[in-house]
Symmetry: C2
Subunit: 214 residues, 2 copies
């Protein structure tokens, strides 16, 4: 296969490394789409971008950080998850709901997530990419930080389902009155369900056992 | 504007009315997309299809029934909602969750809803169509059938958000372990939150008031 001809030299100044960064991000989007989050690697992205893997690390850091940059996501789970888990367990649902709706309440915050969630409906590749990223960097990490109890991964997935469903009806479909109540009310209304899924003690022990241990 | 030339006569037998039905459904999809569910009318659909409104009623019935047929939706809210509301209020969340996941657990059942929900992310028209249809035929009707209490429409929207979020992560993004637990477990796990939103008595009176009355 013939290699493409080298680009002609450009005139004028441009920020150092701009093209290399953009080249790496394009390669990263292709690799993550083709292989999912688990299957993609910094080495593979570097190969696809025709640069040294050290350069990918230099510009972005970890695979998680490359993904965040490639998808323009507004949060880095590695730093968010420990912050949410620190503190009073009785208010964990509230902290998580407040953080989540804080991100979604800003159009630039929710935009990339809306894109990923809707493209999952039309593309298996997009679904795999979203699923493996969310599972590895958010759900599993969060589950591992919960107190020892049964079904932690399922609990976290259920809590996420409540948050994402409320965000979808509020910000995308614009269902009233959910779309126009103040965001603080949404947090207050949804937090008990998130708490219920994450920490069974918000119910009586009996109903918690009935509900959560399968 | 010149009218299109009449189609040449076809050979062989075909089911009576097939073309007229298809013509009405195409017109209906255009009308609903352009005007939303509230703005569209049987009269407007008939005009767009160049047929008499009586023919639209003859083939499909009400505007709701035209929409269901045009979008290939597997349920008719007018008949489903009263059935769900009938019976023990203490098990309302369970009945709703069982019915909802019963529809979504079948690919042909969830397909049209997945299409509507994901296209709402990329098209304001699609969002308006979905929102007005769901509000008029499902949420408002359901809210009106709940016992007298504050914030019934908000309650129903929150319950819907939990169901749709869980369905999205389970059937579209395929997040584990939610994607592979038996559907009966999903119903059992999600029903308490649905019940919580719909009927505050599932909590103590104090926390219900704190949570729901704004």
């Amino acid at each position: 296969m013939a290699l493409p001809a080298p680009a002609p030299p450009r005139r004028g100044r441009r920020p150092a490394g701009t093209d290399t960064r953009a080249q790496i991000l394009t390669a990263a989007r292709e690799e993550f789409a083709a292989k999912g989050y688990d299957g993609a690697s910094v080495r593979g992205i570097a190969r696809c971008a025709e640069v040294d893997p050290a350069l990918v690390h230099h510009y972005f850091g970890t695979k998680e950080q490359v993904f965040i940059a490639a998808m323009s996501l507004p949060i880095l789970p590695a730093s968010v998850v420990p912050d949410l888990l620190a503190g009073d367990l009785d208010r964990l649902g509230e902290r998580v709901a407040r953080f989540f709706f804080g991100v979604w309440d800003v159009p630039e915050g929710r935009g990339p997530f809306v894109g990923l969630l809707s493209s999952a409906a039309t593309s298996d590749q997009a679904a795999t990419m979203l699923r493996t990223f969310v599972t590895r960097t958010l759900l599993s990490r969060f589950a591992a930080g919960l107190p020892e109890m049964p079904e932690r991964e399922l609990r976290v997935a259920l809590a996420a389902s409540q948050l994402i469903g409320a965000a979808w009806l509020r910000y995308v479909v614009l269902v009233e009155p959910l779309a126009s109540v103040p965001v603080a009310d949404v947090v207050r209304l949804v937090a008990p369900a998130v708490q219920h899924y994450l920490i069974s003690d918000c119910l009586t022990a009996g109903s918690a056992r009935d509900t959560f241990i399968t």
